[in-house]
């Protein structure tokens, strides 16, 4: 039992297990922390960029012209029906 335990710990040491585990975990954390910071900063950078370029901060989706025409047509039709 003790021999198996010693062998196991020995295998971890020989293969540099602790170093691989600690380094690997650190790299994953660093990468995700950088991504997290980037995500946090991104809206502010975009807002600052918009101010700098004199654009509106909110981007509106391109209006659906067919839908607008249909809505105007429906409203006109409704209005004429009422007028009769």
């Amino acid at each position: 039992m003790m021999a198996a335990l010693a062998d196991g710990i020995d295998n971890i040491t020989v293969n540099g297990g602790i170093g691989i585990a600690v380094t690997g975990m650190l790299i994953v954390i660093v990468a995700l922390v950088i991504i997290s910071i980037f995500i946090a900063v991104l809206p502010r950078v975009l807002a600052a960029l918009d101010r700098l370029l004199g654009r509106s901060a909110t981007t509106h989706p391109k209006p659906d012209e067919a839908a607008i025409v249909a809505a105007i047509g429906a409203a006109l039709h409704h209005e004429r029906q009422r007028g009769r």
């Binding site: 994953v28 991504i35 991104l42």
Partner: protein, 379 residues
């Protein structure tokens, strides 16, 4: 040659004559997977192809014919080529990217850290595998099961320990299917009722520009830090850019529907067919299954404890259950968070919050795979 000799010769080549007890066990396991998928709905899109592949792969091949998955030139061997060379996993990631909405993550960046915390399962399991006598490359491939990401596990196993690929793939997908069984007890054990009742504010609206910039920037960060992850991460973010750019709808739709389905069929069937009893039913496979369960448990605990640690410093508290979704296993572990949260408070909706560490976990496990590949691959 007489008719009798011909008949005797033919009978000696039939599956009945060459079937071993191990083949029968593997065929039974394959059928059990199919039954679980159909009757219990456990990951049916994966378990049906894997289960049927296991049945096919365990029919003894005729020695003089190229039939088996490991026989060069056989049809099964060509299908398995995409598994053994790690081709299918990045293609699956393309589809995953095209169906993933990173909005919840972009609206609450601190939850990304939970995707990192849960990756501790990978590295603790690596130590466990080394302790049990596996060599460093094998231990790295086994450890990645803790990433709870089937394609990533297959990708790394193909690169670091091809001999263990079948066992690692089956363990990874089996435990992914068992997420609703493995995670809840650990989540409840490590949290108080008060913590499970924590409500989190509704995430902010994310602009389309942020969604477009994110996959490009995040790819650059990940790839420059861990170049080993470029195949997985590159395809994931490429798929996501196809979705979010709004100008490649056709490509995004194909990637997240027909394309990913085709690759899933080939991957699942190929992995299943590779589980021939002679290579699969070994003491190592049993150890891998044990380590796989351990890695899922550690990863879940890592995510929950990571959230609790963050709460020590945050004014606006995180529900620690959300940390369990950091193991990736998209979207099953996020659903488990929702389920466990609603057992305490049916009006508390944690799903959208859990999706943030869930997708961060996918990124985290792919980075971990890249790091392990670059550190452990033989020169």
């Amino acid at each position: 040659m007489s008719t009798m000799e011909m008949l005797t010769g033919f009978l000696s080549t039939t599956g009945f004559a060459n079937l071993t007890f191990g083949n029968l066990v593997m065929i039974a396991i394959g059928i059990a997977f199919i039954i679980l998928a159909i009757s219990k709905h456990y990951e049916p899109l994966l378990l049906v192809p894997i289960g049927f592949g296991a049945v096919v792969g365990n029919i003894p091949a005729i020695a003089s014919m190229a039939l088996g998955v490991y026989d060069p030139g056989s049809v099964l061997n060509y299908i398995y080529y995409g598994v053994s060379k790690g081709i299918y996993p990045p293609l699956i990631f393309l589809g995953i990217g095209a169906m993933t909405d990173f909005s919840t993550m972009l609206s609450n960046p601190k939850l990304v850290l939970l995707g990192a915390a849960a990756q501790i399962g990978i590295f603790v399991t690596l130590l466990g595998a080394l302790f049990l006598g596996f060599d460093a490359a094998e231990a790295g491939a086994i450890g990645i099961i803790g990433g709870a990401d089937g394609p990533t596990a297959i990708f790394l196993a193909a690169k670091l320990a091809p001999d263990l690929l079948g066992a690692i793939a089956i363990a990874a997908y089996s435990y992914m299917a068992l997420v609703p069984v493995i995670q809840p007890p650990i989540m409840k054990l490590l949290t108080t009722k008060k913590e499970r009742l924590i409500r989190m504010p509704v995430p902010r609206q994310v602009s389309q520009r942020e969604k477009i910039i994110f996959p490009i920037a995040a790819f650059l960060v990940c790839a420059l830090i861990a170049p080993g992850s470029i195949a997985l991460i590159g395809m994931l973010f490429f798929g996501n850019l196809l979705k979010e750019s709004l100008v490649t709808d056709r490509l995004a739709t194909t990637a997240r529907t027909a394309f990913i389905d085709i690759v899933t069929i080939l991957l699942g069937f190929g992995v299943g067919a590779s589980t021939q009893a002679q290579t699969f039913l070994t003491p190592e496979s049993l150890l891998i299954f044990g380590l796989g369960a351990f890695s899922f448990a550690v990863a879940t605990a890592g995510g929950v404890l990571g959230a609790k640690t963050m709460n020590l410093f945050l004014r606006e508290k995180i529900n620690p259950l959300v940390g369990a979704a950091g193991v990736s296993a998209v979207p099953d572990s996020a659903r488990v968070v929702q389920m466990v949260g609603q057992q305490e408070d049916p009006s508390n909706y944690l799903l959208m919050h859990a999706m943030a560490p869930n997708v961060a976990g996918v990124i985290g496990s792919a980075i971990a795979a890249g790091v392990l590949w670059s550190v452990l691959a033989s020169p």
